[in-house]
């Protein structure tokens, strides 16, 4: 089997120390290795932002594209060469803001790609402005009086648009996340994994502790084929936040 370390380069990351992007990478290379993939069979498309800066760290074919355009680049690559395992890596800004229509279109079209979104509900690399998933009232540099919009629920959008694999992970739960990745990559169709992730540098409210108190895993009996139940479940928020695979169409 190909070692996990074969999927990473010797380049140094430019992430903050202890950033949970490291955990996401650890979960992904674990999944690659356990699935028996070879580095040259993988095509990773990276967005702009902290998440996309992983482009230098993976020893696979990669394309670091433009902000918000991860999905169409990934779709083009997959349509052109179906043998490739195509993974999109984006943040909430790229996937749900600048690239929202591409995200919806990919879900509708059910292209066989895996979209991994590091959702820290903030624009971090640009030093902390509101993102499409920021909660109403969140005060940021660009919204000093608080966000006066409803935060998007990307899972709900994906389900309504026809995505056939919809999951939420938590960045620091590496084992759990890696299992989701494996299933998503094996899934034939569009897979969304929205990963909740605290920005440890800029977000003083939604911290690791905040998430740890609320996160819980869907149990093994969760009816993963039931779209209506998924639609209700993905809206559970505040005191308790479920993570896992909400919906998979087989």
């Amino acid at each position: 089997m190909i070692k996990q370390s074969d999927f990473i380069t010797s380049n140094k990351s430019n992430w903050c120390p202890r950033c949970s992007n490291f955990s996401i990478r650890a979960a992904l290379i674990k999944a690659f290795s356990e699935l028996g993939l070879k580095p040259y069979e993988i095509a990773m498309i990276f967005d702009i932002g902290c998440a996309g800066n992983a482009c230098n760290l993976y020893n696979t074919y990669g394309f670091h594209g433009l902000h918000g355009r991860t999905v169409p680049l990934a779709v083009g690559a997959k349509l052109a060469n179906d043998k490739l395992t195509v993974i999109g890596i984006a943040g909430d800004g790229g996937a749900y803001g600048e690239g929202l229509n591409h995200f919806i279109e990919a879900a509708r079209s059910n292209y066989n790609i895996t979209l991994i979104v590091s959702n820290n509900r903030l624009y971090s690399l640009t030093t902390g402005q509101a993102s499409p998933t920021s909660e109403r009232g969140t005060k940021t540099k660009s919204t000093p009086d608080g966000v006066n919009k409803t935060g998007l629920n990307p899972l709900l959008i994906a389900l309504s648009a026809g995505a056939s694999f919809v999951a939420r992970g938590y960045a620091d739960e590496v084992e759990h996340l890696s299992e989701i990745f494996k299933k998503a990559i094996n899934h034939k169709g569009f897979s969304l994994i929205d990963i909740l992730q605290p920005c440890i540098t800029l977000d003083k409210k939604n911290t690791r502790e905040w998430y740890k108190e609320r996160i819980y895993q869907l149990d093994n009996n969760w009816p993963v084929k039931d779209k209506n139940k998924a639609i209700i479940k993905v809206q559970e928020w505040r005191d308790k936040i479920p993570i896992g695979i909400f919906f998979e169409e087989k």
Partner: protein, 583 residues
Amino acid sequence: MKQEKILTWKIGGEAGQGQQVAGLILGRTCLSANLFSFIYSEYPSRLRGGLVTNQVSISNKPVDAISKKINFLFALSQTALDHCIKDLDNNALVFYDSDKVKEIDKNSKKIKFIPLSLRDLAKENNINVFMLNSLILGISAVLFDFDTKLLKKEMREVLNNNNKSKDLIKKNNRAVQIGYEYAFRELRLKPFLKNKLNLKSSKRIILTGNEAIAQGSVFSKCGFYSAYPMTPASSILHILAKQAKKNKMIVNHSEDEIAAINMAIGASWAGKRSMTGTSGGGFALMSEGLNLSAMSETPLVIINSQRPGPATGMATWTEQGDLQYLAKVGYGDFHRIILAPSDPEESFYFTILAFNFADIYQMPVFLLLDKYISESYKIISDFNLKNIKINRGKLLTEKQLAKIKNYKRYDFIKDGVSPRSLPGQKNGIFLANGNEHDEFGFSIDGFSSDLRNKQMEKRHAKIKNIFKELPKPKLFGLSNALLTLIGWGSVKGPVLEALKTLNQNNSYVNYIHIPVPFPLDVNSLSKLLKNTKKTIVIENNYKGQMADLMQEALGMKFEKRFNKYNGQQFFPEEIIELVKKEI
């Protein structure tokens, strides 16, 4: 000015009355009757009502442009007659639908007005009113001495392509016959153009610029086309989508132009020759993708078929207003090639060149057309497929990659073009990057300014060899003319047609055509310009965008310009008038 005998037939009526189909059938019949034709349609951006015209210029010599003067007009509405009357030839025949057209100025010249009670004729013969255009085709067959068998055959093919039922095709064929007999018996029409059946030459075809681009892309082994519909580029998407399975081409109607160009870049990176197509407004959305293709050195072919702007402009009309935009658009410093075909023939061959240049230089290449080229039909010699060579540039095989230690996709190399691997190949892993990068593709910043300089210099080195391969500016007519006309793209057809008249007895005017507006081949162009006495740059735009680009590149003044920007292309008659005024 009866030079070569060109007869122009025109039909005008409301949208939905089948003028375009009628014109196409007539123009195609010319091909089977060993004549030449050129078909152009003007129409509004609506599905019913309004005014739609279709115009066919016909001759027994090759026709390079649509003529302005109308010899035979079929007016199905008052609006059609009122619109076309100013363009009638002095000896024109005007057939008008007497149920619809009530006001006729019979004082004008020697024009003969012939009322047609088409509905009565249809009723008497049990013909549906939707087939009035077929009656007209029957009448027209007499004017051009067409064998109705040929016309009916073309009608079958055109209607069959439009998915019409066999029964309907049969009924339309019958209407042609009835129109034909009516023209002979009742109208007592006589042929104006005797068919020459002794034309011995290679096989000829009739097609539009867009059809030629679609065919060119198939012969180029294009594997991926993504687009969002926009007139006048949409028909390329329609044609390629219809043939996708047969051609093993992936054709994607994407959610917007931004997606279209990014998908094409992704597909190109993954190994398929890829193309996207739009008009100016759609390209405005694509321009960020243009930058990505340049920075990541991913080959890409982009079609821009121009229509009048700015903004939505005039969706179904023609202009050459996007040249400066395409030449200059993009943040940062980078190169692109703009090929500007002038007709369906060049559209085909330039498409093949575009794919080769994109692969050889690993950069974006434009095919710049306009609505006139995209949608007008021209009869040309069949394509010579023997000379088509596909050159995929420096594309590495797995075998070659196996011999390379530490493969560097963006290696510094003298000619600027580093060998390319494709995702899926062993030993070829690299990062394509929109960020500035090192030789492997890994992101760098200004703290590595040496690497930045070297990558910039590498990308710019590509341009040095480019002029050897690009189509060169070409002189038509004799050198030493008193007056030299200069143009690009769709200007060529009307000018060449005008030169046929003007150059019959003298040599006071010639024409320089520029097939590659950007980058300008300054050396070749200077040589051609050296002997010119007086120049006029002819362009289908307001400012004279090519003239400005030439001034910039050549350091010469091009003050005399002839511009048209009303949504119509040039007519040969306008060029003739211009030249006569200048000499």
